[in-house]
């Protein structure tokens, strides 16, 4: 399975993401710069974390208007899997590929710690390595991870199984509504999440709980 990692000025987790994808799939992902209007033929496109455009205006707002996002949108419409982590999640929301918005953490503080994640929906292209209700560990590091959606949107995404991850065991680090940590689109091929699974994939990280997301998306495990 081939993958691509998107690069924009200010993103800084691309290196970790390239490392994780390479180690788990055995293939180095291609990198795609923000001005590119076409994306090579891949099975998974990842927008990593960081601080694109210095978080100016709103996190992810300017990145979401770059040419590469039109190309990602076109690929997503064709069914290609797209994963946005942290700033990547913020960018996907700003680009309108996912429902809702991410706001300043309720504590107003940057949080950098480990949280617990409940796999709310294990029947997705990104989570089939896990089982429903399973609780995994994951690092988070963000200032604007407070997920918000209006009542109607919330009802729809909860009803459709689009809420994929929830902060578990009282570890909600940012005030997200319904403890939401990750959501996907209705079609199930675009996923955004605040936690950083790419930073918990091997013994050197102190655990490998995040590995299943990449193993699922890259079809390293049997469907």
């Amino acid at each position: 399975m081939k993958s691509a990692v998107v690069q924009l000025p200010g993103l800084n987790r691309d290196r970790d993401m390239i490392g994780a994808l390479t180690k788990i799939s055995g293939h180095k992902p291609v990198t795609v710069w923000q001005t590119e209007t076409e994306i090579p033929d891949v099975d998974l496109i990842v927008i990593p974390g960081g601080f694109s455009y210095g978080d100016y205006l709103r996190c992810g707002a300017i990145a979401a208007r770059m040419p590469v996002m039109q190309a990602i949108k076109a690929k997503a419409d064709q069914g290609v899997k797209v994963l946005g982590v942290c700033n990547g999640f913020q960018i996907l929301l700003e680009a309108g590929l996912l429902p809702g918005a991410l706001m300043r953490n309720a504590s107003l503080k940057f949080v950098c710690r480990e949280v617990k994640l409940e796999i709310v929906n294990a029947d997705t292209a990104f989570t089939r390595a896990y089982s429903k209700g399973q609780v995994i560990r994951s690092p988070v590091a963000h200032h604007d991870g407070n997920y918000f959606a209006d009542a109607e949107t919330l009802k729809a995404i909860e009803g459709n199984g689009q809420v994929v991850f929830r902060y578990a065991e009282g570890t909600n680090p940012n005030g997200s509504i319904n403890d939401i940590a990750g959501v996907m689109n209705a079609e199930g091929n675009v996923l955004g999440m605040m936690p950083h699974p790419e930073n918990l994939i091997e013994a050197a990280h102190g655990g490998s709980d995040g590995r299943g997301i990449f193993a699922s998306a890259l079809a390293v495990i049997a469907a």
Partner: protein
């Protein structure tokens, strides 16, 4: 040239932690009776045109496309 001001505010019902913190700080300074503080953004723009209608239409498009996130924010446009 037309001068315009765009004001972006959070929609009702959207939690505003920064506004809450400011509200608390004002209270701590001894300002009593503050019901609520909501924080927003102001953009001052200069547009090289004499066509007011076009400027207004462009500003609306700018708000919809970039200046505001209409999932959580409202905007108002005023021309000087």
């Amino acid at each position: 040239m037309i001068k315009a001001r765009v004001t972006v505010t959070l929609k009702n019902g959207v939690l505003d932690p920064q506004g809450k913190a400011i509200e608390g700080a004002l209270g701590a300074l001894g300002f009593d009776g503050i019901g609520q503080v909501r924080q927003g953004k102001v953009f001052d723009l200069q547009i090289e045109t004499a066509d007011k209608a076009k400027a207004e239409a462009d500003l609306k498009a700018m708000c919809e496309k970039l200046l505001a996130n209409t999932v959580i924010e409202n905007y108002t446009i005023s021309l000087a």
